[in-house]
Amino acid sequence: MVDNALSPLAALTILVIFGLIWIAFGYILGRKNKDLDDYMLAGRNVGLAFATATAMATWVTSNTTMTAPQVTYQLGIWGMVGYSLGAVGLLLFAPLAKRIKQLLPHGFTSGDFIRQRYGNFAWRVFLLISLFYAFGWLISLGMAGGILVNALSGVPYHIGMSVIMFVCVSYTLLGGLRAVIATDFVQTIIILTGVIIIAYLVITNIGFEELHTSVEEQHPMLLSLLFPAAIMFLFNNLLFGVGEIFHSNVWWSRAFAFSTNIGARAYFIAGLFWLPIPIVAGFVALAAPALGIDVPAADMVGPLVAGQILGTTGAIVVFIVVFSALASSLDSLLAATADLITQDIYRGHINPGASDEQCFKAGRYIVLGLGIVTWLLCVPRLTTLASLLYFTGAFVASAIWPIVFGLYQSWAGRKAAALSMIAGSSLGLLAYFQIGFYVAALASCAVSLATMVIVSYFEKATFDFRSLSNLKETS
């Protein structure tokens, strides 16, 4: 049995201190927000340093720091490598970010593009996928907060989860995207520093030899390069990451927010910086057998190992790093999802004539509402982090081809886009339940591609991209 690495009091004290700092940040930065462009898109002129930091910090989620170890603990070496292929999504989004900014200089959301490009039906299918994914990710982040605090300090899951949700919702509500990006910058520095420290401590506390021997003895398949599920996982995870980034308003809102000519470089650099982080996080999980740690649920392996090896000081470092990773993603997701709901549901469906002022106000209520709904869905702790996350892969990977072909190819048709998302999601879900979580995104992507190409061939569409630049802010 492992004693808690942190006392409950220490854990809650750190949470309260960081929480107050982040909320103060949100309040101070929020006072600069004068209009909807400021609140939703930080004034559309974010520079390279902040752009890179926010892209990297947002993609370093609690999933990176907790699901990467879980996947390594379940799928071994290829699990670790496969998880780091999530960087490919950021790298490939670099040229897309440039294209998005160019095509839609006044755009607000990914939904804006899909609606203009493919019409209302495809837009609504896309919104369903996008919102489903957003909630899945929000829940996984909320849960991760509770699991982290519980694994390191024994503080009950519901208390840790509630405190973290409260802090993140508060500063996002107060500061909008400006606060999100500024806190991301600070969190990036914390994450990078912490990961280097943790990696160094793991390697010096447990040698490679001992680590290798224990894993080989107790979990032999984890070291096998012919572990079938892990081989299936590799490209599934790559395509899942691509699907997440390509479709999600978290990344589109940043593409709109970054200054002209910044987006491509920021995403590319962020992808390179992100790549080693899941390798380090995953590596930590392989130390569990050598340390004799019992792992009640696979998503607890990361903080359990870190807490054991690193003692109280190290546990505090881990706690701060994971909290930063979690907060930097939770705030981005809250902000971007609220933007999507404000622009595409509130202004798009409920109140089409809504002014920017009304949307500004609605946006704040929506952030609060999202926070409450997420909290309610986190309470029952339905599944593990990886299972929840990869469930959404069946949906998001279906949106890759409508986005890529939609941005570059005039032949991509409206019916094709809608059908490819529906078919991809359906078959992806089937693959998830029939085979496993490690193939859902891949199946979805394959079916979506075939549907997109075949239906577009019969549709014979020709789209004029110049019509996108006519998209006005208030349309």
Partner: protein, 104 residues
């Protein structure tokens, strides 16, 4: 993932794992009062598990079969994934190149 009831959880000190029902040469794993343990990375085969209280068995042996996916099937998924990735990269590169020619 293996789980057991609260009463056993409070008394169990370890979990034994063996590839024979007689528990010859068992692997012993530590357990916590959480009442569950996740074991990963086992090779194909038959395994037996039982909870122990010090040196005394606390439960009847549980038989678990581990059977991984067929390697050929895994290879097919890998190749499919690789093809999709190559198509994706080419699509983006061609699109970006046409865009820069158009604007250049």
């Amino acid at each position: 993932m293996l789980s057991w009831n609260v009463s056993d959880a409070s008394r169990a000190t370890s979990l034994q794992q063996s590839d024979s029902p007689e528990f010859s040469s068992p692997v012993t794993r530590v357990v916590s009062p959480e009442g569950s343990l996740t074991i990963t990375g086992l090779a194909d085969g038959e395994y037996y598990f039982r909870l122990m209280q010090a040196d005394t068995p606390l439960t009847e042996p549980l038989r678990v079969m581990v059977q991984h996916h067929d390697l050929e099937r895994a290879g097919l998924f890998f190749v499919l994934g690789l093809i999709l990735f190559i198509v994706l990269v080419i699509s983006i590169l061609l699109g970006a190149r046409n865009e820069s020619q158009h604007h250049g």
